[in-house]
Symmetry: C2
Amino acid sequence: MGLMTSQPTAPPGPSDARRSPSEAADDERLTVMGLLAEAFGGLATRGAVQLAEHGMAPVEFEVLLRLTRSPLGLLRMTDLSAQTSLTTSGVTRVVDRLVDRGLVTRQACDTDRRTTYAVVTDAGRALLERALPDHLALIEQWLVGPLRAGGGEDLDTFVRLLRRVRDHVVPCATAGSGGPALPRPAD
Amino acid sequence: MGLMTSQPTAPPGPSDARRSPSEAADDERLTVMGLLAEAFGGLATRGAVQLAEHGMAPVEFEVLLRLTRSPLGLLRMTDLSAQTSLTTSGVTRVVDRLVDRGLVTRQACDTDRRTTYAVVTDAGRALLERALPDHLALIEQWLVGPLRAGGGEDLDTFVRLLRRVRDHVVPCATAGSGGPALPRPAD
DNA sequence: ATGCGATGTCTGCTGAAGCAAACATTGCCC
DNA sequence: GGGCAATGTTTGCTTCAGCAGACATCGCAT
């Protein structure tokens, strides 16, 4: 799989079948994936710490950000779940919490009574705008800054390659979210 | 912060202070971070689906992998927690599950009765080695493959830049795990 | 108009993970 | 040799998110 088309550059070294099983545990591919996991995990942890200083969980920040970016500051629950890392069930409860804190309100849709909109309040916008500068500075310090350190091209190169991976792995994000859905964990 | 040394390439566009607040929600830095989150999230989801087909959760795979990579197939609980994305408490329970399934055993240390080792069993090694080929193929298809598609240098470049970010953001991983610990979320 | 599948949201239940505290053990200082 | 802080592991409690199912609503075909 993945080898149906002739591969531009074959993986160096002996093929999987020729190696001892325990040797596969040190495969270069695991290293790349591990690097990605560690880098993202570290950034996520630092981000979570900082958002917590503003009284926000990462998912709450994400919801407030998506709502604020939306033209009318409002989004259907389902669309929110599509744009975030949550299921519709998860969105229901996150919005519950945000409503309790007055950062978001629910608003009925007058053309379709099934849908309810989540609307960001002034307090929600205020909280987000209070946290954003710190958050941007954090990304600058730990992600974008290091990439600029080696010359101006590194950042652009990284973004270009990262976008290529993203577009492969998350087909929905490429076009207008019309692509096939990403599989969900089963067990 | 991050700007103490003169910056090689200043961020283009007006500074944060000069922009309208709502404009900060579209900052380029959020885009990069979002790209990273989407790419990693997509890969993690696909990985979780595939590991589930082998009856494993991602953390269980991680634990089995670390134990198998260890010279004697054995690691202290604390070291396991340092190498994975779990707290010691989390490691306790994951190992509990793995012990219940016969993939791991606990073994007392005869020189320090506080420490208990987690030891991977033959069944654990077998399960890991059954799942590894599929897992490597998945990483090849969705991460490494796309990066090779644009010529042989892209993969190396990506790994080099990614490692730079990782080394900045996870100081412990650079040397012999002797660095300062990563902060944990507070709220 | 009426029935019916599709769609949007919410709720009961479950499993997983973190924090804080409990407990056991060690090494050290006196 | 006896406290005593530090270290290693586990446990109680809580929070959070997913799945599956319930419920309401919509749009369409007849």
